[in-house]
Symmetry: none
Subunit: 478 residues, 2 copies
């Protein structure tokens, strides 16, 4: 439970309301398919503000208990065969914390290098979903045609051809940026690392999601920064909690994945993105936005990055082609707004430049026009995969398990029944030849002990079904 010092009164109210309605739903007093009273009516009945009710309903939506139907209202969601509820977001903000998750993470990435281990651990897509042949062909022809240039330094900001293509892509994102507003990096991770370095000093506090991608926590740890964990549900960071943190602590930067976050799958709605950018503008705090999964929506339009609302150059947008083309090319980028020259300088300082040929190959792939076509294929397959994995989890995992329902990307965030120790589970799973990522590595405070992240980036086949079956048995009380 949060202390009053960090949680705003209104958060208590909407959380109380949401908790009460959750209980009614779980007890069956509000039945699947039933319509919740309208926002206005609940507001009158309870004597609370309309915005409190809106927030409570959003929270319920985030928890997977209700769904909003346009022009109609909020309805209790049908029960899945097992309870496939959304995992619960942590309720409490805490104090900024020194980070340490190194050893556990080392196990996850060691497992990733072992081809005999079932790849449910690291967040990677099967090469079968990637345009391997086409890219290899392009790399080969680039190596021949680029001549000396392909082997020469390409100092920051990086190859102009690629920055031009990124500028074109930024129209699709709904956040038009010029070629000169990009710096090419060694994947999104280097982009994040440069961004954090550019806007913080050792000892500073940085607000992160809770749960947060462990790579971000490791980054903060290695830079001797403190993580301030902001509860994150299906709609992204809890902005009320973030606002009170900004008022009470000297938060120097906010680090978040706005679209299909890892591990939560959270997608921040447009109005929340806009509100986030405005909030940070008010406090003059930079937003480091990781949009690495943005191209992987399962349906509909590509969601915009928060950068689309940035009028102050305060958003440092990071991304890469590791999730959509090839992780091993290590081609990422940052559009750092007002920090452009600092980022170019830091990039030069830490690695001089990004390897040249991979930049030229990605530019050529984008130029050729097959990228959108490729993405459509990937999206279709991810929809199938994610729903198959979810169904298998529903079938094999112990009663009381909850799982995220991401609208993009390929990771599932699974809340196991209380009492389940996911570190122990990860160890036993690895003994059985199955890699998973335990929940505690997604928190600087050892939260999420009964959570695991599962990668759904590989086609769901008989072997994968068997692995999830085994995992479910290992997770079940004996």
């Amino acid at each position: 439970m949060g202390s009053a010092a960090v949680v705003l009164p209104s958060e208590h109210l909407y959380q109380q309301l949401a908790d009460e309605l959750s209980t009614q739903i779980e007890a069956g007093r509000l039945r699947p398919g039933e319509r919740l009273p309208s926002v206005r009516r609940t507001s009158r009945q309870r004597g609370v503000s309309v915005s409190t009710v809106v927030q409570a309903y959003q929270l319920l939506e985030g928890r997977g208990l209700v769904e909003a139907r346009p022009q109609s209202g909020h309805y209790v969601r049908p029960r899945p065969r097992l309870d496939l509820l959304e995992p619960r977001a942590p309720r409490v903000c805490t104090v900024p914390t020194r980070v340490s998750v190194q050893d556990q993470v080392a196990r996850v990435y060691r497992a990733m290098r072992d081809p005999r281990v079932v790849p449910l651990g690291a967040a990677i897509m099967s090469p079968a979903l990637l345009p391997t042949e086409k890219l290899s062909r392009i790399m080969a022809s680039m190596a021949r045609s680029a001549g000396p240039r392909g082997l020469a330094y390409e100092p920051p900001p990086g190859a102009r051809e690629l920055r031009r293509q990124l500028s074109r892509r930024s129209m699709v994102w709904g956040a038009p940026l010029a070629a000169d507003e990009f710096v090419i990096t060694v994947g999104a991770m280097e982009a994040l690392s440069l961004a954090v370095r550019a806007v913080t000093h050792p000892g500073d506090a940085v607000a992160v999601e809770s749960p947060a991608y462990y790579g971000m926590l490791q980054l903060l740890e290695s830079l001797e920064l403190r993580a301030f964990e902001v509860p994150t549900g299906a709609n992204g960071m809890d902005l009320g909690a973030l606002e009170s943190a900004l008022k009470q602590h000297r938060i120097r930067a906010v680090l978040t994945v706005t679209n299909f976050s890892n591990p939560s799958g959270a997608l921040m709605p447009d109005d929340a993105k806009e509100a986030l950018v405005h909030l940070l503008k008010k406090h003059e705090v930079p937003l480091i936005e990781d949009d690495i999964y943005g191209d992987l929506q399962h349906d509909g339009e590509r969601p915009r990055p928060a950068k689309a609302w940035d009028t102050e150059g305060l958003v440092l947008l990071c991304g890469s082609f590791s999730k959509t083309l090839a992780p091993g090319l290590r081609v990422g980028f940052i559009s750092p707004g007002r920090y452009q020259s600092q980022i170019e300088h830091l990039k030069f300082t830490y690695s001089v430049g990004t390897p040249t040929l991979p930049q030229l190959a990605v530019a050529e792939f984008l130029e050729g026009g097959g990228y959108e076509h490729h993405l459509r294929g990937v999206r279709r397959r991810l929809v199938t995969q994610v729903s198959s994995y979810r169904a298998a989890i529903a079938e094999f995992f112990p009663s009381g398990t909850r799982v995220s329902c991401p609208q993009g990307g390929h990771v599932l965030w699974v809340e196991l029944p209380n009492g389940c120790d996911s570190t122990e589970l990860a160890r036993r799973a690895l003994d059985a030849g199955i890699g998973i990522a335990e929940g505690t590595i997604f928190s600087a405070r050892g939260r999420f002990r009964n959570f695991v992240r599962l990668n759904a980036g590989y086609p769901f086949d008989a072997g994968m079904e068997q692995a999830l079956n085994t995992l479910g048995a290992l997770a079940s009380p004996r």
Copy 2:
């Protein structure tokens, strides 16, 4: 002199012959303008092969003692107008200093990107000296043959093929290391950056050379470390000064280029390397050794890195193929001794992995066995280039100029007469289309105001001669 193990007997012969002729020239027995006996005649007289004489004459040419005139023969060169003395090392150690050289360095690397600027600034070799065609061919064939693996993550420590080849190379260095004692990095700069991060905390003091490569100073600056500058002459760091610094300050690491340092050209003799390693062992201080120029000795055997004397795992040896194969591949490495697991972890944290295909391509190049042959060619050309650049400096630069006489690598450290402001000179040179690196960027304390570093990595042609002529005029008192 080379040991029989790596240098063929015939190389001894041509060196002996060249040395003998050098002595005659320096003693005045062969006079400026005098023609050397023809190759054939010398061959008969001495009873050695024609190719031995050809090599000896080339070596003399490289040393700037003779010049070849087409269809005519070899002539003793006129004495340069100036005495080319070694620049003086700074005498004084000072207190650890916060570093800031950012803006000036930005100008150097911006100039590097402009093909119209004469490349005397950045320390890069002409692509003409690098095996561009062969490497491009290997990259192309690797891209085709490696398939999905070439595009997949290659997490730390990096591709085994390349680490095996490095292990083989380490025999040549005289510091045998196992494949598992390496981590592949994005060039030597990332290696240095990881090494410094692994052994320091913000605010710590690190001993560096004075003059030091500006990249190292920038690195310390960005990590909020303090630089302790140790005077460095032609034999490397002044170990007496370093020892007293270790006693008086809490030096957390020593950062040095043992072989052909940049910018000084310093080569630390074996006994000094051994003494350095022992000194640091006594104080339990890690040595971060940058051996990026180690393969580029102008003559004789490849010098050993200090790592060869490391029994405690306290030496973090960094290197790369940027200076000998292709800067744009960004393939470097570190052999971090007892810090192996920390370095692997940091590498994962900052950039996940090094791009895969470039690693495989370099491994293939090394495996093929052409690397030593290629290096021999590069070394011969560097001898000629460096001596031509030195001769031109002697001819065109103002009286009182001193210049280093490096035994390897391709940078010259030039001390201009007192009162010359190299920052002003760099500005005026750039206006004239010539890039140079001003002395002050090689110090955290603004030392070396009347020094410049000149890159001799490009063939000495008429355009280069003209540029050095212009530079000499700009540097001369008006």
